[in-house]
Every structure is written in C-alpha cells, then in structure tokens.
Symmetry: C2
Subunit: 201 residues, 2 copies
DNA sequence: AACACAAATAATGTATACATTTTTATTTAT
DNA sequence: ATAAATAAAAATGTATACATTATTTGTGTT
C-alpha cells in the first residue's frame, strides 16, 4: 500500500462525495469547512479544491451544475473522439482485445444494476484505451465529470437498446469495418444523449 | 486594471518563460528557486507549478519534453476536433465571421514573421471559437502546449503551402461545404504534422 | 416590503515554520 | 572502478498565522 498525501486523499474524498451527491450541484465548498470535515489543515484541501476546479467539477467554488447546452456540447465532442476510437479499434485491435471488449457486453447482460454500470463503463474505457493514444484517452476522461453529474440518475443504464448497440459496435470492430464502427459508436452516443435529455424532463 | 494574485502572476511568468525557452525541455523547476526568482513565497509558486503540471506543461516538475509519439497523437486528435469545427463553420458561420476568418489569411500574407505567426494562430482560434462549443474550445486549447513545445522552431510559419491551405479552407467554408471544409482542415493539419516531423531531423 | 449602506463575520491569499521525503554527495566495500 | 550504503543537503508537504477580500447580517430609509 502506497502512502497517500493528504492533498490526494482530500481530492479523492471530495470528488467521490460530489459524485455521490453529498454536495449537490451549485453548493459552495469552502476550504475551512472541508478542512474541518476531513480533519486536516486548509493547505491540502485548498490544493484539492483547485484541482477539482481545473478538472471542471467545481466552478468557482461551487459544485458544477451542468446546463443542457454543456451536456449537448460534451456529447458533440465525445461522439467525435469515441467514434474515432472505435474506428481505430476496428483497424488495430488484437483478437484478445476484441474478446475482452465483447466480454464487457456479456457481463453487463448477465449482471445486476451495479455490475451492469461497471461493465458498460468498462466497455467505453477499453475501447478508448485500446487506441493507445494518451491524448485521446485524457481528452475523453476529462469529459466524464459533466456526463456523470448531468444524468444524476442511474436509470440510464437500463436504456432499451443499449446493450444491443454495444454488441453492434463489437460486431463492426470484429469485422474490421472502420466506417461502420465509427458510425455505430456515434449513433450509440446520440441515443444516449437523447435518452438522457428526455429523462430530465 | 485588475489586480492579479501572486499565484496568477507566477503562473503566467513561468508559462511564458517555458514557451520562450528560458527553461529548456527536461529542466526541473523547484518551488524554492522559482520563488526566489519571482520574489514571492513558495505558496503561490507552488500553486502555479501545480497548475502548469495539470495543464501538461510540466511533467513531474520537469519541463515537458514531448516525444514524437505524443506529437503525432496530439495531431490525431486535433485533426478530428478542428476538422469538425471547420465543418460546423461551413454550416453555421455568419457572413461577417467568414470575412474575419478570411482576413486572418490576408493579414498573414502581408505581414512579417511576427504578424504572420499571430494571424495564423488567430485563424485556427477563430475557427474553433466560432463553433460556440466550449467543450471543444477547451479541448483544443489544452493541446497547444505540446504543439508549441515540440516544434521549438518558428520556421514552421514559413511552410510552403500553408497560406494557400488556409485560403482553401476559407473557400470551402464560404461555399458552405461541410465535408470539404472538414477534409481540407484535416489535410492541412496532416501537412503541418509532416512538416514539423521533418524539421526535427 | 424593497432597497441601500454599514458593520460583522467568514473565507481567501500569502508568508513562514517545521517535519518528512527525496536528491545529491560521500564513503565504504567488492 | 563500480556498486552499495550512508550521510548531508535540498525540496516537498502540511500546519499555522495574519492581512486582505468577500459575504453575510443587520440597520435604517423610502
């Protein structure tokens, strides 16, 4: 077990708390309060808050409250990047990698809600990671915060068609069809977006 | 004139110094030394260095030394994003915006090296900004550091064909041809990449 | 009640001190 | 001479103090 700096702990704990809805969108996080709660001095907390700010989870000290536009804009970029990742995967993924990817979908099919969330997330992550392009990976992961915070609900994981679409993407990749993989990923994300938007109403 | 925090000044000064080659790639920047040079305490310097780290200009305390792969990967993503921005521009840019964009190219044609650099940069910036997609804008700007540091030289601004390509992109946008604008931007960036890679040898 | 202003309270930004960790320099052993 | 081990030096991470800014609260006015 590696020793963790207080600043890192603070970062992780606050981040998780935000994701868990402990601090709702719009709430202001102050250094003193956080320091109090985490039982450490302001210094590491301050560092953690700054980092959360840079990563977009806080917007001048308040928990990000993503607007519909921000969400749409995020997907506009995401579909580009993940579509590209899918195309690359179709061209360069190794057989074992393809199998792992497919396994994500089947595991999701068989698992309960908790597991299903995990494997769906893994699916996208594996796909992007397989590109081997650090810049791409970084860019995608940077957008997770908004996505996560916007659709506060988890119902999304039950969206009809979701798993079928993941399968379809796998099929395109297995077939080595770049174009098709790209298109299917983009369509998939479009569906996700539409569904999430509808859920908010 | 707005008052600046010491941390902000530190950030800007160190960043500019890195860009100006004062601290060469690979050099280690320590808090104490920077604090000394900037005549302030370690606290704001530390904050600045952390920020520079998050933005990719420092990689555990050392000035980023981009590898060829990183550079290529960056362009792989850039062409996606800027290509998309060009396509959007073709579809949605207003006449005055189109004129401003074209002006960037003509200004570059008529200016000296310094100006030319400025206007070429403006060209790309205007194009991306016109998308109105904050996420996209942010993503593109995040990649500037690597691009800038990798091609330490400025010769790049003299690349044969560069201005013609900018014009060609403008033409496609003026014509409202999304596909073509996208392709031309991608080709343009591909050329940039190839040229930069060749320069390094 | 809504507004403007003043006083108070609280939060931030910076400097500094100190313990710990990391780097560098030096010594010792093979 | 090279490598391992140790000692010395330097740099980092955290806590704390204090001055400065923001924010809130309270008061009086229309």
């Amino acid at each position: 077990m590696k020793k963790q700096f207080a600043a890192d702990q603070a970062y992780e704990r606050i981040r998780d708390a935000i994701y868990d809805g402990v601090y709702p969108s719009g709430e202001r996080l102050t250094e003193v309060q956080m320091a109090e709660e985490l039982q450490m001095s302001r210094t590491p907390v301050r560092e953690a808050l700054k980092r959360l700010g840079e990563e977009g989870l806080l917007k001048n000290k308040r928990v990000l409250a993503p607007t519909e536009k921000e969400f749409i804009d995020t997907f506009d970029v995401r579909r580009l990047l993940e579509g590209h990742a899918a195309a690359r995967a179709a061209a360069y993924m190794t057989i074992p990698e393809k199998e792992e990817l497919r396994a994500c979908v089947t595991h999701a099919e068989n698992g309960q809600l908790e597991e299903r969330m995990y494997w769906n997330k893994q699916f996208h992550e594996k796909l992007v990671t397989a590109s081997g392009n650090e810049v791409l990976i970084e860019a995608v992961s940077r957008m997770e915060a908004i996505v996560y915070l916007f659709r506060q609900t988890v119902v999304y994981e039950q969206r009809p068609g979701l798993l079928e679409e993941h399968h379809a993407i796998c099929d395109a990749i297995d077939a080595g069809d770049r174009e098709l993989a790209d298109t299917r990923m983009k369509d998939h994300l479009d569906n996700d977006l539409q569904f999430a938007l509808r859920m908010r109403k």
